[in-house]
């Protein structure tokens, strides 16, 4: 379902994962690199990307990780999820990282490396460049 959780307007390159992300413990706060070897984004940096992933999972402290990567300038420009979870929603709310959820159909149509612009106030928030 399409929903804006944190509003904002950004352009950037999509980094897409089909795996949920446990921000606590699997994202390096200083570099924004994913450290979980079982994750499809292993060794990739989420810094300055439009991070597209199904949802956040795991420990509640992950919200602090999102706040930390924002403070360290290693955070994504925006996040796009299939499902909203509280860790990601509140981490983005406190850090002012735009966050929307989209339909499963639209989620499957977004591909890694796409250049998109996101404007949460627009009726069509995602524009493909």
């Amino acid at each position: 379902m399409k929903k804006t959780l944190v509003s904002g307007k950004v352009c950037g390159i999509v980094l897409k994962s089909n795996n949920p992300i446990n921000f606590l413990g699997t994202v390096d706060k200083k570099t924004g690199i994913i450290t979980d070897k079982n994750h499809d984004l292993f060794d990739k940096s989420i810094k300055d990307t439009i991070l597209v992933f199904p949802s956040g999972v795991g420990s509640s402290v992950g919200a602090y990780t999102i706040y930390s990567i924002k403070s360290n300038n290693t955070a994504p420009l925006a996040m796009i999820c299939q499902k909203a979870d509280l860790t990601v929603a509140t981490g983005c709310a406190l850090s002012n990282i735009p966050l929307i959820t989209i339909s499963d159909e639209e989620f499957s149509s977004i591909e890694n490396g796409m250049n998109i612009s996101l404007d949460t106030d627009s009726p069509n928030p995602i524009q493909y460049q």
């Binding site: 929903k3 804006t4 959780l5 944190v6 949920p20 446990n22 606590l24 413990g25 699997t26 706060k29 450290t35 979980d36 079982n38 949802s55 956040g56 999972v57 795991g58 420990s59 509640s60 402290v61 992950g62 919200a63 602090y64 990780t65 706040y67 930390s68 924002k70 403070s71 360290n72 499902k83 909203a84 979870d85 509280l86 860790t87 929603a89 509140t90 981490g91 983005c92 709310a93 406190l94 966050l99």
Partner: protein, 384 residues
């Protein structure tokens, strides 16, 4: 989500920056959980205490808000990074210790009870059935919803903090009568706490908000805590319902094959250099049981035991602490296996543990190998 006039005024910033921040977090939480309004809650349990997890940004944030923010309801706290009584044995640097003490100080200034425990359900009195609470620690939220007849979201560190400051939380589906659409059928025979941990981890991956679980026999405290800890680690699920559920529920088996997959994901070492027990922290019952299972035997390698301070004090009075120390155990209160800065890949290759939650974070965050074994096996293999 509908806000009252007063709540809306707080969101607009008319009641100060702290309340504005808290309501911004609650509104995002409400949108994420499709809640239509905020409801009063009676108890908040906060995560975001260990300097190892929240870092400098978290420490500065708490120090800054503690100047003005005060909690409005009973608020308890997750573990921090060390036990001040024996921190000098672990070679933590001064910076870590001073930042951790600053975090503790900020929470105390805000009026939070410094319980430093991830098992609030075991060390505090449980309020009456159906009471609305806001527990951020994932194993505690699942335990509260599934075993303690309380109602909570699987809160984030920030949503629980916002709830502590406002005394409110979004009225999400978990706070009402939730009906899962998945039933997991437990098929593994003779499960121990390690198997229940893996079952929880599996359930967290397949469920969304809550799941039915069928085929469970009687479970002791250790086993229920293991299942809650496992589930909290892998997913967004926050509640088990016990039974088959409605006939139209999707049925998924948890059998040897599914269990092996979880085991293969988390077990990365044949043996460990040290043993940890307690993630979630051990309660008095588990400490007592461990003491009697040891029957005078001693560990052949280091064994770290994590428990709340109140449990350590009770255990000392009863004499369990003496017996465990005699067996070579290091007893640590106020902290936990999970995200411990006391276990470091520079001097530890692998850890033996019976905790699935501990295993996940030891592997991914501490970067050490993990050797999974149930407690009875640990005692058999690692003591003499």
């Amino acid at each position: 989500m509908e806000l009252t006039k007063d709540e809306y005024s707080a969101l607009k910033g008319e009641q100060g920056e702290i309340l504005q921040m808290a309501y911004r977090i609650l509104v995002a939480t409400g949108e994420a959980t499709d809640a239509e309004k905020l409801v009063p809650i009676e108890w908040a349990h906060l995560s975001g205490v260990n300097y190892n997890t929240i870092g400098d940004a978290g420490e500065e944030f708490l120090s800054s808000i503690s100047k003005n923010a005060r909690v409005k309801i009973k608020t308890t706290l997750n573990p921090m990074g060390f036990d001040i009584d024996n921190v000098s044995n672990y070679g933590l640097d001064e910076n870590f210790i001073s930042k951790q003490l600053s975090i503790r100080n900020s929470y105390e200034t805000m009026g939070v009870t410094p319980s430093f425990s991830c098992i609030p359900y075991e060390i505090f009195d449980i309020p009456k059935n159906g009471t609305q609470v806001a527990f951020a620690e994932s194993n505690a939220a699942i335990h509260a919803n599934s075993y303690d007849n309380l109602k909570t979201n699987k809160e984030s560190a920030f949503s629980a903090l916002a709830s502590a400051i406002t005394g409110k939380s979004p009225f999400s589906s978990l706070r009402k009568e939730d009906t899962p659409n998945i039933t997991i059928r437990m098929k593994v025979k003779n499960p121990d706490e390690l198997v229940y941990g893996m079952l929880g981890f599996f359930a967290g991956k397949v469920g969304a908000t809550s799941v039915n679980i069928s085929g469970l026999g009687g479970m002791d405290n250790r086993e229920s805590k293991a299942m809650c800890g496992g589930m909290g680690t892998s997913g967004t699920c926050a509640k088990f319902l016990f039974g088959e559920g409605d006939s139209d529920c999707e049925k998924i088996d948890f059998d040897e094959k599914e269990m092996q997959n979880v085991h293969d994901e988390l077990n990365t070492a044949e043996t460990g250099d040290l043993i940890t027990l307690g993630s979630p922290q051990l309660g008095l019952e588990e400490i007592s049981d461990l003491t009697s299972k040891l029957k005078g035997r001693s560990f052949k390698k280091r064994c770290m035991i994590f428990c709340p301070r109140t449990v350590k004090e009770q255990a000392r009075k009863i004499g369990y602490t003496n017996e465990l120390e005699r067996a070579g155990c290091e007893i640590l209160s106020d902290c936990c296996t999970c995200l411990s800065p006391l276990i470091n890949k520079d001097n530890v290759d692998a850890v033996t543990t019976n905790s699935i939650k501990g295993a996940f974070y030891l592997k991914n965050s501490n970067g050490v190998g993990v050797n999974l074994k149930p407690l009875l096996q640990i005692i058999e293999d690692e003591t003499r």
